[in-house]
Subunit: 199 residues, 2 copies
DNA sequence: GTCTATATCCAGATAGAC
DNA sequence: GTCTATCTGGATATAGAC
């Protein structure tokens, strides 16, 4: 048996990192940064507490990497959905449907949403995550643009676009939270209900 | 100057307790039980860390009293609103309006909502608060009843009452969260938008 | 690469002076 | 009733053996 190459070792190390990140996500999303113990992450991941520090420099490092991913993922998803060639109201309905769908079916999605919320509400704003709390958050901006377009076309209700956006994201975040709390008992919400907000 | 009577002392002690609870609420709601430090509560309240223990036995005691109040307050409010002599859809609209209103105008309301969420998601379910996570939570039940009634009368959309209830509370919780994050920048949401969910 | 100490720090809670 | 030590436990992070 030949010794492993450097690349193979790197690959294994990457997989371990991903495994740790995935386990950490679920705990951080529920408990937040401070209340999450390295020993919890280690135990769930199936190895000793000290070993975490072979893969990450600190607890905060893990947390920040996850928050960055949460923001990147959701921003990328919304910016992509925005490009779809659909009329505004249909686009919003499709976005709602897509998000509800991944919250239900993609195991980490609800946790990512919750993590963003946690990060925003905890206001450890020493770092980059303040970018999200304010309205420059890309998913927020995307919805504002679609709503405004729909209002110009007279398709979407003439309420304040900010209000509609806030309510939309409040609903999505609330659903993600519900999914995390309820787990598999969470029902498959009909996204048309959400779309009614805009009519 | 006469010495204070026992009753006067009790009154002062009660006021101090309320002051501590109010300050603690705002921190607990954002950070959760573990990440909140007694020294934070003490500093905001304007006295030494040790003095907290003159008024409460432990940090958990403060937290649990606040969670109990949050559950009691919201349950009482919803059960009262349910009694109003209004047709189902109007009742729901009025409930939405009332809740949005107190979230905006009553300083501690948004924090109480957020605290319930925090308690539910953190799953320290060693205690009484598990009662809320599941569907026996009174405000949840109230909405279910009103929706069911409205559906029998053909006034409310025939979607799953559970789904409608989940979306309604998801929206309310999301709004409370938004209020806490945004503070005074939070806009006065038109509750009619929320009521559209049910049409 | 993984584990078992262990150093260090910090927060909850207590004791005792004023 | 309030404050200033101080005890104690537990969590992060490090060191060093295997």
């Amino acid at each position: 048996m030949l010794p492993r190459t450097t690349e193979q070792n790197e690959k294994i190390k990457d997989e371990r990192r991903e495994q740790i990140l995935f386990n950490a996500l679920k705990i951080f999303a529920r408990r937040g940064l401070v209340a999450t113990k390295i020993s919890d992450i280690a135990r769930v991941s199936g190895f000793s507490q000290g070993l975490i520090y072979h893969y990450f420099n600190s607890k905060v490092d893990i947390y920040e990497e996850l928050v960055a991913r949460a923001i990147d993922n959701s921003s990328e998803m919304l910016l992509n959905l925005e490009q779809l060639p659909l009329p505004p109201l249909e686009k919003i309905t499709f976005i709602a449907e897509t998000i509800v769908d991944i919250i239900i079916n993609q195991e980490d999605a609800a946790y990512y949403f919750l993590l963003i919320t946690q990060a925003a509400v905890t206001e450890n704003s020493s770092d980059s995550m303040a970018a999200m709390a304010d309205d420059s958050f890309a998913p927020f901006q995307v919805m504002l643009r679609i709503i405004t377009e729909g209002q110009q076309q007279g398709i979407i209700s003439q309420d304040s676009p900010q209000d509609l956006t806030i309510i939309f994201w409040a609903t999505i975040n609330g659903l993600a939270l519900n999914k995390v709390i309820e787990g598999n008992q969470f029902p498959h919400i009909d996204s048309k209900i959400i779309a009614r907000i805009f009519k």
